[in-house]
Amino acid sequence: MTNLAIAANQLRKSYGEKVVLDGVDLAVPEGTIFSLLGPNGAGKTTAVQILSTLIAADPASGSISVGGHDLATDPQAVRAAIGVTGQFSAVDGLITGEENMLLMADLHHLSRGEGRRIAAGLLERFDLVEAAKKPASTYSGGMKRRLDIAMTLVGSPRIIFLDEPTTGLDPRSRHNMWQIIRELVADGVTVFLTTQYLDEADELADRIAVLNDGRIVAEGTAEELKRQVPGGHVRLRFDDPMAYERTAVTLRDVVRDDPALSLQVPTDGTQRELGEIIQRLNAAGIEADSLTVHTPDLDDVFFALTGGARVPHQPKEAVR
């Protein structure tokens, strides 16, 4: 068995009557990207705050270890192993980007020379050299996020928590951030990523856990999750309305889209079912102008598992 970078048993947290995390089990193998996916208010940030030692889990929780250290008894060792980039910018806006980097180097007790070398290297890597001498408060959202991650990397953490790292970024910055995250794992780092974007989890994560109302409602690879929900279909499109009508009658169990002259035939996507559909079309002498197979995407998964929760693409309110 591979070593677990993060292992949490029955993680619980409630504020008074309000239960935020209701017994969450997490197991993240070293060197992988794990994504906690969920709508706003699902408890993602709370999970990150607990695992990164910011707040304490409820006593009713089971054992939690991060980087091989027990969270409750040795938080300082956990802190030495992790790096955290929270949802809200954790840079010092009053000082420059370079000063922020050197501040991190000092707090990691690096020598002056080493600190300067690492800071310069990271500023270069994250395309911040030009802005290095400007106050961080003047940076754009994408630049702040890059500086934020660069600061997190100063201490070469083995486990990195990224809490919604692309929320509020434009598409280009978002893709840059994905590239950065992929490079991190290439170096052997473990990444714990929270996101409300399904494509992001699909794109990056080795394993995904779907969090809803403080509970993990599904867990697995993106493929495994997609297989758990119905929604796969074959789409047949026709140029000839007559052929369209004839197919609808022949196959019977279809969803019609009359204006587009296309039919959706539900299927689990296996070769056997596809063969059956094609056989029936051949037998009736029907030739579709195009045939495409659709597997359910994570959107289908998300809505099926979270009980059709609201569309999770809205900006989070700023909290203090």
Binding site: L54, G86, L107, G155, R320
Partner: protein, 263 residues
Amino acid sequence: MSTFALAARDSSTMLRRNLLHARRYPSLTLNLLLTPIMLLLLFVYIFGDTLSAGIGGGVPDRAKYIAYLVPGLLLMTIGSTVIGTAVSVSNDMTEGIIARFRTMAIHRGSVLIGHVVGSVLQSVLSVVLVGAVAVAIGFRSTDATALDWLGAFGLLVLFALALTWIAVGMGLVSPNAEAASNNAMPLILLPLLSSAFVPVDAMPGWFQPIAEYQPFTPAIETLRGLLLGSEIGHNGWLAVAWCLGLTVLGYFWSTSTFNRGPR
């Protein structure tokens, strides 16, 4: 690294951060300096004749009043400077960087210690600046020995330390900068109710005990004694007791508030 070395190293890093803030954005510190300097000029040049006549039995003597006024205003300068501390602590706590510090393997208290040491240094600098204005308009210490000067300096540092810890606590419990500024306001209003401007004897009888035993009056009387050779009496140990008491109170209040975690 031993705990102490870790604490010292991280605290000095945090101190450098705070001094960098103060140097980059000096307007807050300078604005707060204006209050004691304005009051000094106002009370000497506008109210000086009337007040000195009142204190001196009808004979106006502005030079004498400068001597009376300056020790109180030096301590008021500290009260004014630490309002800035409360504001900057409160601002700091709203920044994500504090959450980052909390997730790093650094000495927990270093964030606050950095603020406190930075604030004490700023207070000393402010006192020197206000002192320079006082000397420029004619203030002179009389018969102060080197030991008296050392005592005066020690008292000012101790007083700054005490008010700073209280101000840090006020900054930590304030939800924003405006609230921090309001909460710390008593630190600059309290000198008005002390012996800074007029002697306690000149106040209404029912109010005298309040004025006499609040933290500013014993410190002012002690500083007067050290710089001008007046009677210190029980004010010396009263001042030190106030300073130590406020320091301990502010320290425990601030650290427990900070350790309770993010707001």
